[in-house]
Amino acid sequence: QGGPDPLITEVQDWASYTGEGVDETPYGLPIHFEADVIRRNVPWLTADPISSINFTPIHALDGTITPAGCAFERHHSGAIELAKPDYRLMINGLVDRPLVFTYADLERFPRHSGVYFCECAANSGMEWAGAQLNGSQYTHGMIHNMEYVGVSLKTLLDEAGIQPEGKWLYVEGADASSNGRSIPLEKALDDCMIAFKANGEALRKEHGYPVRLIVPGWEGNLWVKWLRRIEVTSGPVESREETSKYTDTLDNGISRKWTWVMDAKSVVTAPSPQSPIQHGKGPLVITGLAWSGRGVITRVDVSTDGGKNWQTARLAAPGQRMAMTRFWLEHDWNGEEMLLQSRAIDETGYVQPTKEALRDIRGENSVYHNNGIQTWWVREDGSAENVEVS
């Protein structure tokens, strides 16, 4: 510190002259200084951005709620524009009364709400064969966590009346991909809902405006956007998205199907490759996210030495069922390199495994459901890299 700080001793423009009036931005975007906190695509992953995925900038966020404007998107035939007056939802199949609802009808049902994470089954999927993408946005950013308001699926299904032979649902979107998935009725009646609001506002176009399905704790592909039809069936449809995709091939060539649940997982979001330490040694906040599709996160441990020794981190708030939990670890950094890891534990007692432990069981061709422990190598200069350790 040289002399007095002119930012303090001199009168700054913003202290003399006025700022913008309240009519300047009727619906705002983040201040331009934050312009790099955006969704990003990995172009080589897919053939075309219309049928592709992008990644939430989790390295730059804190707390648990993901702002809709930077929450990851996954489309199979692009994000469509479907106006509320044009929206119809059909319930058919093994029901007493096949029904059609307008958007206005849906708003008259008793409301239901919940905060849930939505994770793509392929999140961290590029890391099966080893450390590949350099940044928590790319390794773990196919996830968002929002507060939803809508109607429980049970309420809607009761309106149509499920017949005894009905054991499954087939849910289908209105877009050109006609993305559809089969869901066992038990899950549908347990905690699924349709949502029309997220984080207080209408769903964004890219998240399924005006109505999407919420399937707490289960892989994002089931969360059908632009939901147009719910069919009660006696068995699964075995659609393209539940046979040729979203099935997990093991080492012996046999594939697991119906791997719906997202197991407990966590990641240190900062420091990380896109969010290096820039303040040198001394007090350092290590922060990250944890979640489990099997319930509540009860504990998160952090290691700075690649998993030799662990300390229990502080949860920002008690874990919520199938929702993200924020953890912080206040650390006194000695300026030496670290191998940073986090490890989530959920209410079932499941401990997030290492990637090696997962590979021992599944091999490297699984594509989906990689919930292994992530390692960031933090160097003495504070920069970080995605690595794997023995």
Partner: protein
Amino acid sequence: DPLGLGRDALPEEIAAWDVDVMPDGTGLPEGSGDVMTGEEVFLEKCAACHGDFAEGLGNWPPLAGGEDTLDRKDPVKTVGSYWPHLSTVWDYVNRSMPFGQAQLLTPDETYAITAYILYSNYLVEEDFVLSRENFSEIAMPNAEGFIIDDRSDAEYPLFTVEACMQDCKESVEITMHASVIDVTPGEAADEEEASPASNEEEPAVDPELVAAGEKQFNKCKACHMVGEDAQNRVGPVLNGIIGRAAGAVDDYTYSSAMAEAEIIWDDEELRAFLGDPKGFLPGNKMSFPGLKASEDIDAIIAYLRAHP
């Protein structure tokens, strides 16, 4: 108790939307298609992405081949090597394909395409005809290749243990670095904002028509790009198409019909082409059925004119 909200779904409405097909063939409509017809339809509507022989182009998925690769590194998952049910093929083609022109195929076309995909996987002979009647007789090679999620037995007991806190391993070495592979997208590129070029000399455009054209262009953008950073995709980049010669974009592989056509794309030629792409220039590979309404065509032309 029911609240009495909504209304009864009419049989015609259910028939229009409830078209999914179950593994036992329930939901298939009447119809049939043979391999040779399927090849023709496939070449016209599918091959631009999936290749003439269903082998896949670029990052687009292959539909044939890949047998005996599932237990190797980087398995090749195709209809023949991986898909357990033929119903899934019919259902997916019928509801979701072709990419950018979904739900426009006839049942016979869908049967024919499905028959051709079977043929390209050596699962049927070239004189094969697929129909609702013989659908369930087709055996898929990987039908037995799936098990129901067994994580609760195979993994959860192993991972539901007391977590070690101190001296959990003897030593730790870095075994792999992401920087070695170096496939993370650069961040510098998206920060450079090109300033919009001045186009004061261009003729005035009707902004409403251009906006309408932008909407119509949704029907094109599965294959074509315009604007800043536009590149060739399934179809050539369309910046500056007005007034340009046909078949003139560098690095784009045109059909010979288009490459040899001596056409300058003015309003009149574009109007004729967009109204009936195949009829206007037989043999060209644009698999788009054409726009019926002339105001939609005018709108797209205005939109393209706005991208010189």
